[in-house]
Amino acid sequence: MASLHTHTLTQIRNLLASGEVTAQEATRDCLERIQTTEPHLHAVLFRNDEQALEQAQAMDKQGPNPQQKLWGVPILLKDILATQGMPTTCASKILQNFTPCYDAHLVTRLKEQGAIILGKNNLDEFAMGSSTENSAQGSTRNPWNLDHVPGGSSGGSASSVAACQAFASIGTDTGGSIRQPASFCGIVGLKPTYGRVSRFGLIAYGSSLDQAGPLTRTVEDAAIILSVIAGHDPRDSTSVNTPVPDYVAGLSAMKDLSGVRIGMPREYWGKGLAPEVAEACTRAMDTARQQGAEIVPVSLPHTSYAIATYYIIAMAEASSNLARFDGVRYGFRDKDAQDLLEMYTKSRSQGFGDEVKRRIMLGTYVLSAGYYDAYYKKAAQVRRIIREDFLKALQSCDVLGGPACPTTAFGLGQNTDDPLQMYLTDIFTTSLNLTGLPGLSLPVGVGRDSGLPVGLQLFGAGFQEERLLAIAHVLEQAMDPLPRPQGIEDVLK
């Protein structure tokens, strides 16, 4: 059977379950797709071909297992999730030879449900970046136009899923790192509520912000993956012990949007928004209205403070989390150092890339004596104010909607010389990580000027992913689907 990889996760799962397609056929088809597209995309850092095929073969011998939600489904993982026996590098020189001796909790869940792990996706080093240009292994390309970035930091994951290298990937979102690349690559990206998915085995960047979630080609596919990875894990003390609803059943329960109130935050729809993004997102809101939704104006008055707040907190937490990389127990070590301090310093200086060092420096500064109150404590206070804005707006609405990003995917190298300018591109995504609330980026069209995808971001109340997914699903069904990314197909001809 040809071109299995173009199916959605839901479709391939049904074909696998009914025995029409074998796990080996699905796996081989994706591996061949990776083989042909990788020279142009560079979205995958490690390929697990041999083990994946062995696993698929063993599964085919047993036959489909209806108890497993992802039986035989090939997927990829962002290379910041610990995988036993498979390298986990965080796209950093400092972890280039690291192979964990355990699986992240969510990886265990995926394996238990029969998923086949094809390999690990490229990312910005330690998830620090918005373009996947900060990878020590080189940049990933956007399959819509190979001269543009795929977004970041889960840019490898988004590029892979958009280019049909796998049926889903798991990314992580600290300040928008699932939703922004999903928007840039024209796929669905879901950041669950903080605490919904265990962070055990997710190599920490900003511990109070990081959350793993799915990148998929449809909303239903995202619902399936979330139903597998969500749930309590006693090994993560921030993992919340609340029941996991049936997200897939929740989709079919909602037929249209009558009775649904969608808030339009004023601050997300004004100045600085590219006209083509405003146009596509407005069209999507009009579709929501036609589906019966009531669109109401709301305000998130402290939006302009979100980026400064986010970066202070993220950098402070990063400087503390990345202190563990000292060349003693794992990772790169400078062999010439004469004493311990020199060994730490030389190993870290050679092992970390520029952006990681910049964030460690700023994080160390804002936490240092004399500046803690002025920066870190201040940011933690503003964080509460920002959260209260959201809670207030959500009192009168089911979800809020706005663009995921102010522009479509920017060109490679366009923002690399100006770190502050790069940080400012995260304006619509960072607030949500500060609050812990869930958010989803849905592809709603192609920009008329750039020809690149536009994502609408929907965000809702804590642990209400079921409603968020159901609303996004109705909207997805009511709109024209995006064409397939042409950039990668053109070079394959």
Partner: protein
């Protein structure tokens, strides 16, 4: 405010990072720009706001103090740059 090269060097020492003079100068300029942007938070009066350090309310998590074998010494030492089969080896301290 203006970050000096000396301050950059002091922070680099705390962060266990090495910098050439040229890198320190460029770092000072970038930190200056970024911190100036962050100073916009001072426009807000937060004197009566309780800081929020995490989206979840942390509660102390207790479990029984049972010894559980989660991995082997060999597997953990397997990633070390230098080890002797029992311990991590680092440059001589004294």
């Amino acid at each position: 405010m203006g970050i000096t090269i000396d301050e950059v060097n002091k922070i680099a020492l705390l962060a266990r990072l090495d910098m050439t003079e040229e890198q320190a100068a460029s770092c000072a300029t970038q930190m200056d720009t970024i911190l100036a942007y962050m100073d916009t938070l001072n426009e807000l009066d937060t004197s009566s706001v309780e800081p929020m350090y995490s989206p979840v309310d942390h509660v102390s998590v207790f479990r029984d103090d049972n010894v559980v074998q989660t991995t082997s010494r060999e597997a953990i030492l397997g990633n070390a740059p230098e080890e002797d089969g029992r311990y991590f080896i680092v440059p001589k301290i004294v």
